[in-house]
C-alpha cells in the first residue's frame, strides 16, 4: 500500500514540474510513434492467434453434444450449456475413489513438493551464486548438463532407488525427487547472480550470519524469481500423472483420473472437452493470481553494481 502512495507522490511531483519536462518524462526516449503502433499491431495479431485454440477449447466444452458433431463446424456454441461439466462430476462420482480424494492427492503433492523445492533449491542457488568455494563451478555445470538427459530412461534407475528407499506407492516418490529439480536451482541461481555483492557484504559487516543474509536479504530481493519458480513447479507437479511410481488408485492424482475419463471414446467427447478445460484452467488460474507478484516486485531498485 505504501507503494501506491509513493506512486501518487511521484505523480504529483511530475505534475508540478515544467511542462516540457513532463513531455519527455511521459514518452520514453528512443521510441518512434509509428514504430510503436506497428509493433503493437503485430503483437495484437499474434496474441489473437495464440489465444484462439484456447478459446476454442473452452467454447467446445460449453457445446451440447449435437453441436459438437455439427457440420459445418461452429466456433461458438449456439446454446451454451454446462452439461459437460456436470456430466463429468456424475462420472467422477461413480468411481469408488471419490473426487475429493483425487483432488487432495494432487493438492498435497503440489503444495509440499513446491514448498520444499523452493527452500532447498534457493539455499543451494544462494551459495552457488554468491560464494566461491571449490566445486562450485563443477556442481553448477553438472546441474545444467543433467537437465538435458531425457526423463524416459532415467525412470528405471529412479524406480530402483525409490524402491530401495521403500517410497514406491507413497506420495514421497513424487515429492522428494521434485525437491531436487534442476530447473528451479538454475533459475534461482541466474537471478541471484544479479544481486550486488556489496549488499551481502554490508549485511555481514552488520553482524548477520549466512542464514540471516539468505533469509533476510537475498530471498526478499529475488521475489520475482521465486514466484516464477513456484509457477514452474506447480505446473509440473499438477500435470504429473504419477502413474509409474504410484499404483494404488486412492493415491493417484486428479489429472490421471481425468485423463482416464477422456480416453473413454466418442461417447465421452463432451466430457473429454470438459476435462481438457479443467486440466488447463487450474495452472492458468494459479498463474493469474501469482503473476502480479512476478511482474511487480522487483525490490532491488537501484541496487546494482
Amino acid at each position: 500500500m505504501s507503494k501506491d502512495s509513493n506512486k501518487k507522490k511521484t505523480e504529483k511531483e511530475t505534475k508540478e514540474q515544467v511542462y516540457r519536462k513532463k513531455l519527455i518524462k511521459k514518452r520514453k526516449p528512443n521510441r518512434s510513434i509509428i514504430g510503436d503502433i506497428l509493433l503493437y499491431l503485430i503483437l495484437l495479431l499474434i496474441a489473437f492467434i495464440m489465444a484462439f485454440p484456447l478459446i476454442y477449447a473452452v467454447s467446445s466444452a460449453l457445446k451440447p453434444l449435437d453441436e459438437l458433431f455439427k457440420f459445418p463446424p461452429t466456433i461458438f456454441p449456439k446454446r451454451p450449456t454446462i452439461d459437460n461439466f456436470s456430466d463429468l462430476f456424475v462420472t467422477m462420482g461413480k468411481s469408488w475413489v471419490t473426487f475429493s480424494r483425487y483432488l487432495f492427492n494432487t493438492v498435497f503433492i503440489t503444495f509440499v513438493g513446491t514448498f520444499g523445492h523452493l527452500i532447498i533449491a534457493s539455499m543451494a542457488a544462494f551459495v552457488l551464486a554468491k560464494y566461491e568455494f571449490p566445486g562450485n563451478q563443477a556442481f553448477f555445470k553438472l546441474v545444467t548438463v543433467a537437465m538435458m538427459f531425457t526423463g524416459y530412461v532415467t525412470a528405471i534407475p529412479n524406480y530402483i532407488i525409490l524402491n530401495k528407499l521403500g517410497w514406491i506407492d507413497t506420495y514421497w516418490a513424487i515429492i522428494i525427487p521434485a525437491f531436487a529439480s534442476p530447473l528451479g536451482l538454475f533459475l534461482m541461481k541466474q537471478f541471484m547472480e544479479g544481486l550486488p555483492t556489496s549488499l551481502i557484504e554490508a549485511a555481514k559487516i552488520d553482524g548477520a550470519n549466512e542464514w540471516k543474509v539468505f533469509s533476510g536479504i537475498v530471498m526478499p530481493n529475488v521475489k520475482p524469481a521465486w514466484m516464477t519458480l513456484i509457477i514452474f513447479s506447480v505446473q509440473a507437479l499438477w500435470n504429473n500423472r504419477a502413474s509409474t511410481f504410484i499404483y494404488s488408485e486412492e493415491k493417484k492424482t486428479l489429472v490421471f483420473a481425468l485423463q482416464q475419463i477422456q480416453s473413454g471414446g466418442i461417447a465421452r467427447t463432451g466430457q473429454g472437452a470438459a476435462v481438457l478445460v479443467v486440466v488447463m484452467i487450474v495452472p492458468i488460474i494459479i498463474f493469474v493470481f501469482s503473476q502480479s507478484q512476478i511482474l511487480e516486485t522487483m525490490a532491488s531498485s537501484g541496487l546494482k553494481d
Binding site: P53, F126, M147, V153, I161, F179, F191
Partner: protein, 312 residues
C-alpha cells in the same frame, strides 16, 4: 620425465591443499548446498549414470543387464533406418523451432515490457497460457482433421483453394510443418517467463544514461543495454529452449499417431519410447538417450559461446 611428474604432483598437492583450506573456510556453503546436492545426486546424477551404463548392455528390465559393449550403438547407427529418420526429424524441428521460439520469447517479453501494467498482465497470460495448458494442443487435431469436418479443410474448400480435403496429419508431406506450428505455439514457456521477470529487473537509470550517450533507437538500446543486462536469463532461456526443442515427442505422437505414416513424424524421443516402453529393450533405449544427450550438450556448448558475445 620423472622430474616433470614429480613437479606435477607437488603442484597438484599444493592445489589440493589450497582447495581444502578454502573449503574449510567455507563450511557454511557446503551446509547450504548439502540438501540439494544429496537429493540431486540421488535422483538425477545417479540415474543418468546408470542409464549411460545400461546403454552398453542388453537389458530387458526382467533379466539382469548383460554387458555387450558398443553393440547397441553400432546397430543403432548402421542398421536402424528409422532411427536415422528420427534424427533427421529431430534436428529439423530443433533447428527451426528452437531459435525461432527463443527469439519469439525474448521479443515478446521485451515488447510487452513497456506496456501499462494491466495490459501487460493480460498479454503475459495470453502468451504464456498455451505452454501451461497441459495437453491442450490436441485441439489442433480438430483443426487439422483429415475429413471435411476439419476447420482448415472446411475453410480452404469454402475459399475454393482445394476441392477435396487434405489428410493433414496422415500425409507425410504436411506432418512436420504442422507439428512445428504447434510446437511454436507452445514455445513461449519457461524462457519467456524468466525474460519477463528479468526485464523488470533491468536498472532504469541505465536507459537514461544510454540516451545521454547517444543511443538513437530502440534496437540500439536493445543490443547495448537490455541484452547485456539480461545475460543470466538469456542463458537460462537457451538451455530451456534446447531441452524443449530436442525432446519433442508428445506433440508428434499425439497429433500424427504413434507410429505415424512412414515414420514421417518420428523423433528421437518417440523412437526411444517405442523401444523403452513398448519393446522393453531398455539397453537400446538408453543408447538412444545417450546419443540425444551428447547432441544436446554439443548444442549447448555452441550456444553458450555465442551468447558470451552478445552486446559487444
Amino acid at each position: 620425465m620423472k622430474e616433470y611428474l614429480q613437479k606435477y604432483f607437488t603442484l597438484r598437492k599444493h592445489n589440493a591443499k589450497v582447495a581444502y583450506k578454502k573449503a574449510k573456510n567455507r563450511k557454511m556453503c557446503y551446509l547450504f548446498l548439502a540438501p540439494y546436492a544429496i537429493l540431486f545426486t540421488m535422483f538425477y546424477v545417479f540415474p543418468v549414470l546408470a542409464s549411460i551404463y545400461f546403454s552398453f548392455t542388453y537389458y530387458n528390465v526382467l533379466e539382469a543387464p548383460r554387458f555387450i559393449g558398443l553393440q547397441n550403438y553400432i546397430s543403432l547407427i548402421l542398421q536402424d533406418d528409422i532411427f536415422l529418420i528420427g534424427v533427421k526429424n529431430t534436428l529439423l524441428i530443433a533447428v527451426i523451432t528452437g531459435p525461432l521460439g527463443y527469439i519469439m520469447s525474448f521479443l515478446f517479453a521485451w515488447l510487452i515490457n513497456e506496456l501499462p501494467r494491466w495490459v501487460r498482465s493480460i498479454a503475459v497470460m495470453v502468451f504464456y497460457a498455451p505452454s501451461i495448458a497441459g495437453n491442450c494442443f490436441v485441439i489442433f487435431s480438430v483443426f487439422f482433421r483429415g475429413d471435411a469436418y476439419g476447420y482448415v479443410n472446411a475453410f480452404l474448400i469454402n475459399l475454393g483453394i482445394i476441392d477435396k480435403p487434405i489428410l493433414w496429419l496422415v500425409n507425410p508431406q504436411y506432418m512436420l510443418p504442422i507439428c512445428m506450428l504447434v510446437i511454436l505455439w507452445m514455445s513461449l514457456g519457461s524462457g519467456f517467463l524468466s525474460f519477463v521477470a528479468g526485464l523488470q529487473g533491468v536498472d532504469k537509470s541505465q536507459f537514461e544514461a544510454g540516451y545521454m550517450d547517444g543511443i538513437k533507437n530502440r534496437w540500439q538500446e536493445l543490443w547495448f543495454i537490455t541484452l547485456p543486462n539480461m545475460k543470466p536469463m538469456l542463458m537460462f532461456g537457451a538451455v530451456m529452449a534446447i531441452t524443449q526443442a530436442f525432446n519433442v515427442a508428445d506433440v508428434t505422437m499425439q497429433l500424427c499417431g504413434f507410429p505415424s505414416t512412414d515414420y514421417a513424424a518420428r523423433t528421437i524421443v518417440a523412437h526411444l519410447i517405442d523401444y523403452g516402453s513398448m519393446r522393453f529393450e531398455m539397453g537400446y533405449a538408453c543408447a538412444i538417450a545417450t546419443i540425444l544427450f551428447l547432441m544436446m550438450i554439443l548444442c549447448n556448448k555452441a550456444i553458450q559461446s555465442f551468447l558470451r558475445r552478445v552486446g559487444t
